[in-house]
């Protein structure tokens, strides 16, 4: 009765174990939800199903036959389609051309344009979109409609397993309702639908069963009819806060940062916040909820559409270079793309904002300063001249953090400072954060890892769909409550 089975799938990237012995099965005419926190291995698992990654061990069975797709095309030919969060369409081609891309109706080398159009048209009508013109270029369509095109594309290939990876993260309410109609439609047509989402209310609404992953391992599979959101949350976060987190008594002083109803172009939509000197304030929330955009808007990287920011004695908006001068530093979540220049040396990275004085670079000054940070942060390296790209993730992150410390900023905006780094480096970074707070520095800490927020922060606010909730004392909340607010 199972159509797709995964047996004991394991996959690791370098030292990180992304999946460990995960098994699950999906059947036709059913919607299976796969849930778990950020980094629990959901996406890796789906990429394996769709042929974009290969498992280290374990096997897949499709309709009781071994199934090991070597690339996405092979997976599609077997009838397995993954609909990405970022859609894989050709923006310059029309709806009909995208729907049939790679399998166009043709006579010899010539396209059968009329046939393509009518095929696309009838398929879209069948999906409840009779008014969508097959001739319009895809880039002129809003994301929700592009998603419809992507689903239609999967259907023309007679996909029997359709995987949706976080399909609603960029959709409004009406579009979500429409998407659910499509999914129910697919289920009735006998497809096996796998639905990945953080939004548990959506999972409760659309799914028949839910498979829960945590830290790359299978926690269990539950019948949606026999469970509730509380139960799912408990399965997702159920772990203990370890003794990683040092915590000295912080003495919050006067208000350093005052944010009034901040809104960006898309995200955040509304954020109110007061941060005091010597305080660590955590921002929880799902990927795409607007946490990163919130930090970027504060430090002048993204455009602010409305709202006010007052930082120390400076009111109003400022460019990012002014923010540095005022004493505000931003640590990017994307270390490799934004955080560091991987091909440059430790010293060049660490001293990037101020490599010398009077417009001249002074290598001796750079090296001396870098050496003190290597010592104080415990960066394992050959010396200030080593290329940053050759360091481990944890040591790279210390270099990025060191840049903020070298500038001696008063407010540190830390976006996922411990993502993808080893436990030892994590605890060292927690120690630095704690020491900074004792010295009267303020921190806004964005993290997906709730135990970390609970362990490090004084207060925690939750960002959900672009709106920042009121901060609550870390001692008065717990992972379940936070997760509940995240998935609301």
């Amino acid at each position: 009765m199972w159509f797709l089975r995964a047996e004991e799938i394991s996959k690791s990237f370098g030292a990180t174990q992304a999946l460990l012995g995960v098994s699950f099965e999906a059947k036709k005419g059913e919607v299976l939800a796969v849930v778990g926190e950020n980094g629990s291995g959901k996406s890796t698992l789906m990429r394996i199903l769709a042929g974009e990654e290969r498992p280290d061990s374990g096997r897949l069975l499709l309709d009781d036959a071994p199934y090991s797709p070597r690339d996405p095309l092979k997976a599609r030919n077997h009838g397995v389609a993954l609909i990405h969060q970022e859609l894989a369409l050709c923006p310059h081609l029309t709806v009909a051309e995208n729907v049939e891309l790679g399998g166009e109706s043709h006579r010899g080398p010539v396209l059968s344009v009329a046939q393509m159009r009518s095929k696309a048209k009838s398929l879209l009508a069948e999906m409840g979109h009779p008014d969508l013109s097959p001739d319009i270029e895809v880039r002129r369509l809003p994301p929700a409609v592009q998603q419809v095109v992507e689903i239609a594309k999967a259907l023309t290939r007679n996909a029997s397993v359709i995987i949706f990876d976080e399909p609603t993260s960029s959709l409004g309410k009406d579009d979500v309702a429409n998407l659910f109609r499509q999914i129910r439609n697919l289920r009735e047509r006998g497809a096996a639908v796998i639905y990945i989402s953080h939004f548990l209310d959506e999972v409760m609404e659309i799914a028949d069963r839910a498979t829960v992953l945590r830290d790359g391992s299978l926690v269990g599979t539950v019948d949606i009819a026999k469970t509730d959101i509380q139960e799912l949350i408990r399965l997702m976060v159920g772990r203990e806060v370890s003794e990683l987190y040092p915590r000295s008594g912080h003495q919050p002083g006067e208000v350093l940062l005052d944010v009034e109803h901040l809104a960006g172009r898309k995200l955040p939509r509304d954020a109110v916040l007061q941060l005091r000197r010597g305080e660590v304030l955590g921002v929880a929330g799902l990927n795409g909820s607007g946490r990163t955009e919130f930090l970027r808007a504060i430090c002048g990287l993204d455009r602010i559409v409305s709202g006010e920011i007052t930082f120390a004695k400076w009111a109003g908006r400022a460019e990012v270079h002014d923010r540095w001068r005022q004493g505000m530093g931003f640590l990017s979540e994307d270390r490799k793309q934004e955080g560091l220049a991987l091909k440059l040396s430790l010293a060049e990275n660490l001293m990037m904002p101020r490599p010398g004085r009077k417009g001249l670079v002074r290598p001796s000054f750079q090296n001396a300063r870098t050496k003190t940070w290597i010592e104080r942060l415990g960066i394992k390296c050959k010396g200030p001249d080593q290329t940053v790209g050759h360091l481990s993730g944890g040591n790279q992150q210390k270099v990025a953090l060191g840049r903020l410390l070298e500038q001696d900023v008063d407010l540190l905006l830390l976006d996922e400072p411990t993502r993808g780094i080893d436990l030892g480096s994590k605890s060292e970074i927690y120690k630095v954060i704690d020491e900074l707070a004792v010295r009267g520095k303020s921190m806004l800490l964005v993290s997906s890892y709730l135990p970390e927020l609970l362990g490090v922060c004084d207060r925690i606010a939750v960002m959900s769909r672009g709106v920042l909730g009121p901060p609550v004392d870390a001692s008065l909340t717990n992972a379940e409550l936070l997760m509940e607010a995240c998935v609301k």
């Binding site: 599609r76 894989a88 050709c90 399998g103 080398p109 396209l111």
Partner: protein, 317 residues
């Protein structure tokens, strides 16, 4: 209607520029003779821009075009000197273009070093080959009908409106545009330039089609070389230096994008015509060369700025 907005815009821009010069140089500019001269001179960049449009729509670029044109003029001259018929010369020209395009395509798809760098390298190599074959000298060749392809029409031939080379360009452009619009291959070319990853996921053989695009590009640039030989009547290894930039500019003025997915063959031809019109108008007004260069540069900037504005407006809706 929206589909044709781009080509209509470029034609309108040409009409405006032509109109301005008609006012500035009323004696010689608004004549049939002048239009014919424009068409005679546009064929080299024109043929090149047909090939370059294919390449740029697929998300690539070809910096070796100018060198390839010079190489082709040398090859034709050498073939004619050996006493072969002009048809053999034409065949050799096309074959040279196809081979150089194939080399570009194979290197780009196999080395994965990026079209810019690979064709920067072959730009040097093809120029060197042209100089080697010609022993670093111009190669004289007997006059044949090839030279007539871009000759001015005699009074008895005025019913033809344009020389054969220009008609051939229009004919080739029509075929090329049709292939791009109405064949499976053509749509796959656009798909690759638009989103190569999506194209791969959809089962398109990206490497094969990209290689084919460079072969087609080489073929048309080879024909541009044939036209340059027709104009020069000799093989010249130092000809057409920087021609690739004129060709790329023509495609960009025609709405082509350096990031792929966009471009229109006829609009590229009009782009080439716009640049030629400025050059001819500048010459007839006795404008110095440097003024013409600046004006051409400004036109490119205006075209690109207009394009950006159009995309930003579409994205905001």
């Amino acid at each position: 209607m929206k589909k044709y907005l781009n080509i209509i815009g470029v034609i309108a821009a040409w009409l405006v520029i032509y109109g301005i010069f008609c006012v500035l140089v009323p004696r010689s500019f608004p004549t049939w003779q002048n239009l014919e001269t424009l068409m005679r001179q546009v064929v080299i960049v024109g043929f090149g821009s047909i090939g370059m449009t294919y390449i740029m729509i697929a998300g690539g670029i070809d910096l070796s075009a100018g060198s390839l044109v010079a190489l082709v003029t040398v090859v034709i001259a050498l073939v004619l000197n050996k006493g072969f018929s002009p048809w053999v010369g034409v065949g050799a020209a096309l074959l040279t273009g196809i081979c150089c395009g194939l080399i570009n395509g194979v290197l780009i798809t196999r080395l994965k070093a990026g079209a810019f760098i690979v064709t920067l390298a072959t730009m040097g190599a093809y120029r060197g080959l042209a100089k080697g074959l010609s022993k670093e000298n111009t190669v004289n060749a007997p006059l044949t009908w090839i030279s007539n392809l871009t000759d001015a029409l005699r009074p008895s031939e005025h019913w033809r409106l344009m020389p054969n080379g220009a008609w051939l360009m229009v004919f080739c452009a029509t075929i090329a545009a049709w292939v791009l619009r109405y064949t499976v291959f053509g749509r796959h070319v656009v798909a690759i330039g638009s989103n190569a990853q999506a194209a791969r996921l959809s089962g398109i053989r990206v490497i094969r089609i990209t290689t084919l695009v460079y072969i087609i590009g080489g073929l048309f640039i080879g024909i541009a070389g044939l036209m340059d030989f027709s104009r020069l009547t000799i093989g010249d290894p130092t000809a057409a230096v920087g021609l690739e930039l004129d060709i790329i500019a023509a495609v960009v003025i025609g709405g082509g994008s350096l990031t792929g997915g966009e471009g229109n063959i006829f609009a590229s031809l009009v782009g080439a015509l716009i640049m030629e019109t400025i050059r001819a108008g500048g010459t007839q007004m006795d404008l110095k060369d440097w003024v013409q260069n600046i004006v051409t540069g400004l036109i490119i900037l205006i075209a690109v700025a207009f394009d950006r504005w159009r995309i930003a407006r579409a994205a905001n809706r």
